[in-house]
């Protein structure tokens, strides 16, 4: 849980205060006995008769539990998502931008797809952008920001955001398919999938062939990306800014299409 690591000193400090309060309390023995008794009650909960168990679940406690669960899950998801957005910004090569407040559904913890409205700031400049989130906290988030939203963020960095080429998905898709199938036939890769397109160009997921798996994954990914980029731009004269190839772990990908990226490479300029 990297998102919560920075809070460890705070949690530690609050616990320290509470412990000091308990230790210095004039009735600490009575409090400790009470605590011990409560712990004992919880430990022996399953040995208690059903009626007594039902008595434990009062309406008030249920409301408290729901409020607590809601708050904790919300804050946890919130912080994790914030750190993921920072990674996304780094991936998009946007530097020096602070991620501010995040606006997301209160049930985000339990949902697998939603849009989060994130605030970004650099010195006095501020903006907000929508980020599509898929996945869950425990299985990892997959974030996507559209070009228009990304342009808003780039604007506050002062980065010249040039739309060199608009990605023409209809023309590119068959050309990419043909090239990647050739790589499969040449036993360089076992499988491939177009993950997404943006103004950079295509993002590819590939499963390496047995013979390539022992090699440096990043180098192989870059090699595949370069071959695809050359094929598309030089041979077929298509308009692509950049090609990104992500090499994925074969086992989860083949079984459940779950993506675990082992390495990535890119070709072209953006």
């Amino acid at each position: 849980m990297p998102a919560l690591e920075s809070f460890v000193p705070l949690i530690g400090f609050v616990l320290l205060v509470l412990v000091v309060l308990l230790v210095t309390a004039p009735d600490r023995r009575a409090q400790l006995l009470k605590l011990h008794a409560t712990a004992g009650n919880i430990a022996h909960l399953r040995h208690r008769p059903r009626e007594a168990l039902l008595g434990v679940f009062t309406l008030k406690r249920a409301v408290y539990a729901v409020v607590l669960l809601c708050l904790v899950s919300y804050i946890w998801t919130y912080q994790s998502l914030k750190s993921e957005i920072r990674v996304l910004l780094a991936e998009k090569e946007i530097e020096g931008v602070a991620v501010g407040s995040l606006v997301m559904p209160y049930s985000a913890f339990f949902r697998s797809e939603y849009v989060a409205d994130a605030g970004f700031s650099k010195s006095r400049k501020r903006t907000r952008a929508d980020i599509s989130v898929s996945g869950r906290l425990w299985s990892g988030f997959d974030l996507h920001i559209s070009e228009i939203e990304l342009a808003k963020v780039s604007k506050i960095v002062g980065k010249a955001f040039v739309f060199s080429y608009l990605t023409d998905v209809k023309i590119l898709r068959p050309a990419i398919d043909r090239h990647m199938k050739r790589l499969v036939r040449n036993k360089q890769i076992d499988a491939f999938q177009i993950e997404t397109f943006d103004n950079r160009g295509p993002y590819m997921l590939v499963v390496l062939n047995e013979k390539n798996r022992g090699k440096d994954v990043k180098a192989v990914a870059t090699e595949i990306a370069e071959s695809l980029h050359t094929n598309l731009t030089k041979t077929r004269k298509l308009k692509v800014n950049q090609v990104v190839v992500k090499v994925v772990d074969p086992e989860p990908f083949n079984k459940t299409k779950r993506v675990k990226v082992l390495g990535r490479g890119k070709a072209g300029q953006y």
Partner: protein, 656 residues
């Protein structure tokens, strides 16, 4: 009753004459809103004008002008304003750092967290400790730290000054009977005067800004402290005072060593009241530029950002609950004077506080999260609430619109018209009749005088609109609140729960109640009435529960022995005996309604509240004060009649 039937007959005759078109114009309505008015409030022909039959506003304007310019009061106010600003800067600097005030750097935010935990624990144990610590965390987590600290700085400046002034005035009034007699009616008016009416003269004398907010807050918070100081000193048993005198105390020794310590509970209750009043006023003082949570809330409400408003509202509520809890716990905490403890045990918590704050300071340089409120820590729930509002608008819009339409067309508008177009002599006769019936000639004359002032001041029609809103809201509060109170009072557990919630809701600053109604009903006059109902229903429930639960056990026992079942006991014993107390609750409900109806003008009404808002924006001191007095006099008239009746009823029941 029969003796006053002629008044009823006169009212009826006037109404009949009006409906038949036979009533002469001078008996129908007061000559208000003339095209060519004697006083143009805006000083601009063609705009709205009103006529005062007696120019109270003009007289007040000239008086204040004379005081400000000729007597040099403005020099004094400017001096006070400057000193107060320095004081606020010092507290602001202590809490938030910066170059102003003492020029200190900001303390670690965890120092305040520690103080909240330890203060709560030392006063009332774990629950209060977690509540106060949790509130400080809430400010940090929801990104409201800066605003909360600004509010705390204003409170830190206003509360001690209010306490000192209230205490001093209370002590002098206790010593000088003539001052007490002179103060009591002033305190009554001051406590019923709407919050906004305080703001206008303060703005005129002190300008706009934080310090003006603090001054308004102090003026608003002093009356309860004076009252409770007086009450506390009067309640000190004569034997105790006598014992003090016999021990050879001088007057000062008697006051500081005997009377004030004996009145400790009332004084600390006064401190509690001062803190709560200050918080309520600090929120409202945002209208004249006082910074902090109130200002932020006002800003967000004005742009209808309800989600964010609600987050700020929760922060204000939490602050109110914590401050109330801490001050109440302090008031209730008994000191063991006899215990002979060593230094480290007697000052256990102050030592702990110093040690833990020092720990916060020492650890802060190594762990940045302990030093400053981290931006990364902040979250917001605003989207959720906005989503809820959108959902309500989407799904309930038709139902709510129909409900609103039905209520306005069939209930509110006819009720308003009935009051508005009732010949003014009918209203005066009705009130006089009620006065005669409930309190005799004195009450009749007093309440008539209050209403005559409103008529002469030129605000009769607006006052009738305010009255209709209060009447309707009070009626709904009674219809809902009293049955809820009766239901709660029938079991001890329910009674405790009801009282707990009433206690909690009563700590909320009144401005907060506007939030949920805007979420449900948008901005219109029904929202204002709903806000009044939500706010004013609390005393109706509370006093009903207290009234029924406080019946003497021997009476209950007698009813049981006579074979009464629950219903019979309720109908024949509990309700008749509790009625005077319940009526005091109704009285409080009416007072709350008057106070809230003015604040609710923020969401669009056309009553006195709206005019007070206008006066505030025009900084029209005469108009503002006269309007405030109109509201206050209406409230005082009702208060006088109901308390008289309740007292008489208690006397007849042999409860006094």
């Amino acid at each position: 009753m029969k003796g006053y039937a002629w008044l009823g007959a006169l009212v009826l005759a006037l109404l009949l004459a009006k409906s038949a078109g036979l009533l002469p114009a001078f008996l129908d309505e007061l000559p208000l809103h003339l095209e060519k008015s004697s006083i143009d409030t805006l000083g601009d022909a063609g705009k709205e004008a009103y006529t005062e039959l007696v120019p109270f506003g003009l007289i007040l304007d000239h008086t204040f002008e004379f005081m400000r310019e000729e007597l040099g009061v403005s020099l004094v106010t400017r001096f006070v304003s400057k000193r107060l600003k320095e004081l606020i800067d010092i507290f602001d600097n202590i809490l938030r750092g910066g170059r102003k005030g003492l020029g200190l750097s900001a303390p670690p935010w965890t120092a305040l967290l520690v103080i909240a935990f330890i203060l709560g624990y030392s006063l009332k144990g774990w629950r209060l400790a977690l509540l106060s610590g949790g509130t400080v965390m809430y400010f940090a987590i929801f990104g409201l730290w800066k605003f909360a600290m600004e509010t705390l700085a204003l409170l830190a400046a206003a509360v001690p000054i209010s306490i000192i002034i209230g205490l001093l005035v209370g002590i002098v009034a206790y010593r000088k009977k003539w001052l007490e007699l002179a103060l009591l009616p002033i305190l009554s008016v001051a406590q019923t005067l709407p919050h906004f009416a305080y703001l206008i003269p303060v703005v005129v004398f002190f300008g706009i800004g934080h310090q003006t907010g603090v001054i308004a807050t102090i003026i608003f918070a002093v009356p309860p402290m004076v009252r409770l100081t007086l009450l506390g000193l009067q309640r000190v048993a004569p034997e105790i005072v006598e014992a003090g005198k016999m021990s050879g105390c001088t007057n000062l020794q008697l006051l500081f060593r005997v009377q004030l310590p004996s009145a400790r509970n009332e004084l600390l209750l006064g401190v509690n009241q001062v803190i709560m009043q200050c918080l309520a006023m600090v929120v409202i003082a945002a209208f004249i530029g006082a910074s902090g949570l109130g200002y932020r809330l006002l800003h967000k409400l004005q742009s209808l950002k309800l989600g964010q408003s609600l987050e700020i509202g929760v922060a204000i509520v939490l602050l109110a609950v914590v401050l109330d809890g801490l001050s109440r716990a302090w008031a209730e905490k008994k000191r063991d004077y006899a215990a002979d403890l060593p230094f480290h045990r007697r000052f256990r918590y102050p030592i702990l506080l110093v040690v833990m704050v020092a720990a916060a300071y020492l650890l802060a340089p190594y762990f940045p999260i302990l030093e400053k409120v981290p931006r990364d820590l902040t979250v917001t729930y605003a989207k959720t609430w906005d989503g809820l509002v959108d959902w309500i608008v989407l799904n309930w819009s038709d139902g709510l619109t129909n409900f609103r339409y039905f209520l306005i067309v069939n209930v509110l508008a006819p009720l308003r018209d009935a009051l508005l177009y009732m010949p003014y002599p009918s209203v005066l006769l009705l009130v006089a009749g009620l006065g005669l019936l409930l309190g005799g000639y004195y009450s009749a004359l007093l309440t008539l005088a209050f209403l005559v002032f409103i008529g002469l001041a030129g605000w009769w029609d607006r006052a009738m609109i305010t009255a209709y809103m209060v009447v309707f809201a009070t009626f709904i509060c009674i219809v809902i609140g009293i049955p809820v109170g009766i239901f709660s009072a029938l079991s001890e557990r329910r009674a405790k729960t009801a009282l707990f919630w009433c206690d909690t809701f009563q700590t909320f600053p009144s401005f907060i109640y506007i939030l949920p109604v805007i979420m449900l009903f948008q901005v219109n006059d029904l929202s204002a009435i709903m806000a009044v109902i939500v706010y004013a229903i609390i005393p109706a429930v509370r006093y009903t529960v207290e009234g029924i639960r406080s019946i003497a056990p021997e009476l209950e026992e007698a009813a049981t022995m006579a074979g009464c079942n629950t219903r019979q006991r309720l109908v024949h014993l509990q309700l008749p005996v509790a009625i005077p107390h319940i009526m005091l609750g109704v009285n409080q409900t009416i007072m709350f309604a008057f106070s809230m109806v003015i604040i609710a003008a923020f969401v669009g009404t056309i009553d006195l509240g709206q005019q007070i808002f206008k006066a505030l924006s025009e900084t029209n001191i005469g108009k503002g004060v006269v309007l405030g007095l109109c509201v206050s006099f209406m409230a005082l008239a009702v208060d006088h009649l109901v308390t008289r009746w309740a007292r008489e009823r208690r006397r007849l029941l042999g409860l006094d």
